[in-house]
Symmetry: C4
Subunit: 261 residues, 4 copies
């Protein structure tokens, strides 16, 4: 099971765009996409499992066990001829190789579905405290810059976009698919135990731009509630992990020697 795709449906889509956001700084990418999926009632059509994800399972609030996974959803647009595909998940690959291979696989799938453009959502760390989070942009092609400017997105100058949120654009570019990244400004606050706090402001700022760009209708008011829920989840898992983390770190530093009995 290098990368295993479980297709639940084979949707027929009209000139779709891909909107991707995986866990990263302040969960801006993931929360943005999760919110769109929820509000638009997008439909899950593919689950992606992989040996590149972290090697453990999650237990949810009902005691249900589940592998880490990435997911693809689709949404049929009943206003225009532009359907949407969403890419999200609860994990990123643990190695550079895995990160490249999974992003590449996702592009394979969405191109098969006729995908014409890739949007990714990420965060841009800043030390400034602005009342309103700014939205930065980066593109794979100079032709896309005017579109960014139209929506008052500030073009990013020099920087990096890490993990899946960056690679899906970079890999799209070498396949000649136009790609855009919206980066929500965040200060990247963390809890005492080191977890990023979900930044609802950055998410809201990014989604306001994205909604206008895509010309879709999405209610942003439930965002605060979702942030509360995520905070809670992150905290609970952090507690459970505390000991296990310590153990893993030691195991690694011992060259995995304490697996023996």
């Amino acid at each position: 099971m290098e990368i295993e795709i479980n297709f639940l449906k084979q949707p027929k889509l009209r000139r779709p765009y891909l909107i991707g956001g995986l866990p990263g700084i302040a969960y801006v990418g993931k929360l943005s996409v999760d919110h769109l999926i929820k509000e638009l009632k997008a439909e899950l059509f593919a689950e992606i499992y992989s040996k590149f994800f972290p090697p453990y399972v999650l237990i949810d609030e009902n005691g249900l066990v589940e592998l880490l996974k990435n997911e693809l959803y689709y949404w049929k647009n009943n206003v225009s001829e532009r359907d949407l595909i969403f890419f999200t998940g609860n994990a990123q690959a643990t190695t550079p190789e895995g990160q490249y291979l999974i992003a590449d696989k996702v592009l394979d799938i969405v191109l098969e579905l006729g995908c014409e453009r890739v949007y990714s959502i990420a965060a841009s760390l800043t030390r400034k405290t602005n009342k309103k989070a700014r939205v930065f942009g980066a593109v794979t092609d100079l032709k896309l810059i005017s579109e960014m400017k139209k929506h008052k997105v500030i073009l990013m100058e020099k920087g990096i976009i890490g993990g899946a949120n960056g690679l899906m654009l970079g890999l799209a570019k070498i396949r000649n698919i136009p790609g855009l990244c919206l980066l929500g400004e965040t200060q990247g606050f963390r809890t005492v135990s080191g977890e990023f706090l979900v930044d609802a402001n950055a998410v809201r700022a990014v989604l306001q731009v994205l909604i206008k760009t895509l010309d879709i209708n999405v209610d942003l008011s439930p965002l605060d509630e979702e942030v509360e829920y995520m905070k809670d989840t992150i905290k609970k898992i952090a507690e459970m992990e505390e000991y296990i983390i310590k153990k893993q770190r030691e195991a690694a530093s011992r060259g995995y020697k304490n697996y023996i009995t």
Copy 2:
């Protein structure tokens, strides 16, 4: 030798269940399964070697050298038509990839033998000091919850199960095999040099539930003795490892540069 299976027998089993427990927190999973194997006189039928295990050999008390390995045992039930397969070993894979691939391979083997359900045994870390270790449970399917409750297992709410003990359930789930995990409560005490102490109380608590669930007869009284033996083994190996560990850690931090002469 990516993963090499040495089949000693090809048992014919009647609707077997898999019971797996690999080394992990407080050795609860491994010791539980080892005890069942010993008391039921289960028979070894497959040895699993892999390049994903830690790269060294063990020397036993007789001076015999042996690769690290995982093992599969079977037990023919002479009371009911439900045979058992046991999965244990002295190591877990050193990489996420290896952990997924080995758990997946084990499922291949047991499904070939008609396996109808997967149980894994693990530990749940807690800071409470209870006289009697509690037993927590997690399942791959909501239908299994009633079974957990019947045996007074406390359903776990949010958490993770690391390594093989978690992955065998997660991977079973995506293959539509029902899976259950019993987690023995432990405080995860450690020796001065950082090794987990084997927690016989957690093992006993888990096995009491499992024995009832499977409706089998197993004497739990020899557990204390086994714990003593394991403690001793762990300590001796820890002494031997002390220098080697130091060396490996340094080698890694030097980018493996000090292998040269």
Copy 3:
């Protein structure tokens, strides 16, 4: 996309030499080769993408996103029958495996083009502060030593050359291709945040030798300006990376556990 080569052209070259310099100590190798490419107006003919490179994309000063990559350029010599191939890039592979495989792949490509010799450029760390950087040399064959001495290159005695700059020579040797390394002496100064400072003196010293060796005409005066530009780029990226780096380091030390939400 293990290693993906994007050929822009299929040049016909006359008995070419390969000149390679990837990012390393004080950027001596990379800057040297970049300068030659720029001054000779060498032409890009192949881009090398790989899952072994670090998993993120760069954003340039125009907001353009780009995968990390290595590049091959060619230059047609209009004075002699000796064309040149240049090998550079903005990244090295993140694993030993990747470093070997990419260097090996590059040799495949250049040998196909008739390459007769491999030069690599690297740095040699020293604690001495000399007014003029010395140039050290290492070779794959004793027959090449006289050539080194002719150009007053000091033969290196015992040492190592790390990464692509070393491996392309070592791998050339086992294919019976003559190889030479020029190492510019540098003190490896760093910024407060740990980045190497580009050492223009070392680059100039190495290029003075290389230009004579190859009997080509290259203006070295623009070097200082390029160094200024690189410094600036490195600093800007370093600022952007600061937070992300911290996050990645933590993620790794947690066994990648904080990717969950």
Copy 4:
């Protein structure tokens, strides 16, 4: 070039034994085998290159560049019908996978040549300061114990043998090839910068046993001189590495981010 074998000869051997010693604690294994090769004038017949070795090249005292490699030598016994194969090298693989795969490959080669037994040489760390280093033994088969005792080798009780020196025995065992390990007692002293000191006493003790066991004639008096040479080499390389090591460590801790320019 996963693993690349360069065969210089295809020797015909009579029921050979393999004697292996790779770099490890106090260089006991490597130095022992190197000494036998030198004194017996054994002939190099295969070089083993691999992407699993550390990614750099060595420069020797003549300025010659060379990839890290492992080597196989043979020696034709003109006294008895028992030829010998030697396995040594200047590096071990950087990953568990690599260590298994290379040891396995070496067994492939020597079994093809009719190898009937595998000896490996390693070190056993102790804190005792004995005038004379003791020699410990471990075997793959209880039948070999009497042979150990005949030569006054102390059977090791519980322990581990790390890397190639252990794996070649463990892998031989699962192929049903008899294997023995001789471990020279050493205190594992180190230089200020952390390198192991070569322990000539441990080497001498091990070789005295091995020579009797194999019934061969080898002069041990040049050992002290060789130790001096190795010390010198290790020290020189350590100096060269000091800066590079620091850089690599930082690069790793930054998620390899400072490769960019």
